[in-house]
Structure formats: structure tokens, C-alpha cells
Subunit: 138 residues, 2 copies
Amino acid sequence: MDLLFIAARDVAGKSASVLAAAGLGRAHARALHFIARNPGLSVAELLGFLKITKQSLNRVMSDLLKGGFVERKTGMQDRRTRSLQLTPAGKALADAVWNAQRPILAAAFRSAGQDAVGGYRKVLIGIAGDPERWRKNP
Amino acid sequence: MDLLFIAARDVAGKSASVLAAAGLGRAHARALHFIARNPGLSVAELLGFLKITKQSLNRVMSDLLKGGFVERKTGMQDRRTRSLQLTPAGKALADAVWNAQRPILAAAFRSAGQDAVGGYRKVLIGIAGDPERWRKNP
DNA sequence: CTATTTATGACAGCATGTCTGACGTAACGA
DNA sequence: TCGTTACGTCAGACATGCTGTCATAAATAG
């Protein structure tokens, strides 16, 4: 418990300075992160990842769109949906955030060793569930 | 990254209903958690765990004191400090929160196996640092 | 003993992030 | 055509964090 809280807090905290420079907060970073990892996802899917309400996401997305970090296109299969993806500026920002966080994870992974990382992933997947289903709401 | 975020979110989320019934939020739960695990700790130590400002903690602690969940006594060695510990009501609440969260962790630990849990802890300690030093500020 | 530092408490105001509720529009599907 | 779905948006509220400021008591340095 303690470990999970402290680790998540510290990793998220590392990105603060990079984000502040772009006038964004942590909520923006989380949205940015999942859009970066799942290009072209819909708003509903993004909500599934973040588990917040669409009204909450709205403010965050407005900022990202105004800032030119995210691009919103009408979905091709279902024209009601919006396909979200990062602009070059968005990619640059996501990379900057990642570069701020990577050293901690890399150091922890290296010092713990391959086997430990395998166990780490196994347990977290046990807690978080199948990544393939994160995007679904329930 | 994704795993860490989702896992922390889901575990913390499980306690929401229990906390809401007591009129408290997640910030209260975090304070309660660290007081439960480190009985008699000082305010400065609690701030070291939570990494928030004393002004932010103030509101949370006021609520916990008013609600009769936490007890505050003058420190014995250093009379400037305040020794914090849970009241019976606080312990009951902390237990209720823990009982809401335990099943997820227990299931994940069981299905991942002993070795995986060892690796999980090893990596998280690598990210979060030595637990003995969490209570220190810098 | 005096001056300074430390640990804490309190209050005011502000920013962020989240929520519920309500309404509207466009597109899908039976 | 009609009900449902996916989304956008406005309004108002709450929770949680922050900075800044002042006050007090106790420890500590000189």
C-alpha cells in the first residue's frame, strides 16, 4: 500500500516542472499520456482509462486543444466519435514528460533485475486488470 | 507507467464508499493510513510521508480531530511536537478502508505468486526509495 | 539569560481537478 | 421514423492542494 502510493506520487511528481512550463497540470499529463500510448482513441475510451466524468475531461481537453497539443478528428467508422491524437507539439511535450520520469523507473528496473521486473508487472496487472479492458467503462 | 497509475487509482478508489459514509475524502484516508502504520508520529513526519504543505494538512487534520478519528498529544521528548495516533473510531475506520482494499491486493498477490511479489516490492522500493527515509522532508 | 530557531497552529485567498445536473446536436441502428 | 449512443457545453458546487502571513511555545545557541 505505502509503496504503491509513494511510488505513484514520486513518478507523477517528476513531471511537474515540465508541465508547469507548458501551463498545464497533472490532469493534462494523464490525458496526454493515454492519447500518446493509444493514438486515435475515442473520447469514451479515454474516459475509460481515466475513470473521470466527461465534464471533467472536457476542461482538460479544451486546454489541450487550444494549446495545440491534441488533434480531434471525426471518427471514420462511427462518425459520432472523435479520434484523438497528439500533434507534433503534443508529442514533444509527452516526450519531455517521459524523459523526466524515465530515469527513476530505469534505475529501479536496473537495480532490481529482470526477474523482479517480471514479478512487478505480474502483480500490477493482477491489481489493475487486463490492459486490454482498461478502455471499457464498467 | 500505465500499470502504476491504474493500480494506484483502483486501490485508492475502492475506499471511496467507506470514506464517504464517514464524511471524509481521500486526503483524510491517506493521513489516516500513515498514522495507523506509524502510531505516535509527529506532524513533521506525517508531512514527510504525504509531501504536502502543513497548510494543506491543517484542514485534513482539523476534520480528523473534530471527527474524533485522531488524537493529538504533546510530544514527550520534544514538547514542541505533537504525537499523533488513532482513536478507537479512527482504528475502526482504517480497518474498514483496509478491508475494502485488501481483496484486490490479496487476489493479485496470490495469483502472481511469492516470487513475483518479491520482485514487485523490490522494484517499488527502487522507485520510492528506502521506507525509513520517507518521513524525512527533502 | 537573551536571541534565534524549530514545530506547530490558524486564517485568507487562489488554482486545479473533480463532481452532479441539465440541455443540445449529430449519427447510428432497429 | 424513433429510440439510443457519443459527444459538446454551460452552470454551480465541492475537495484538495498551494502561497502568504502571523502567532505561540519550546528548544537551543551564545
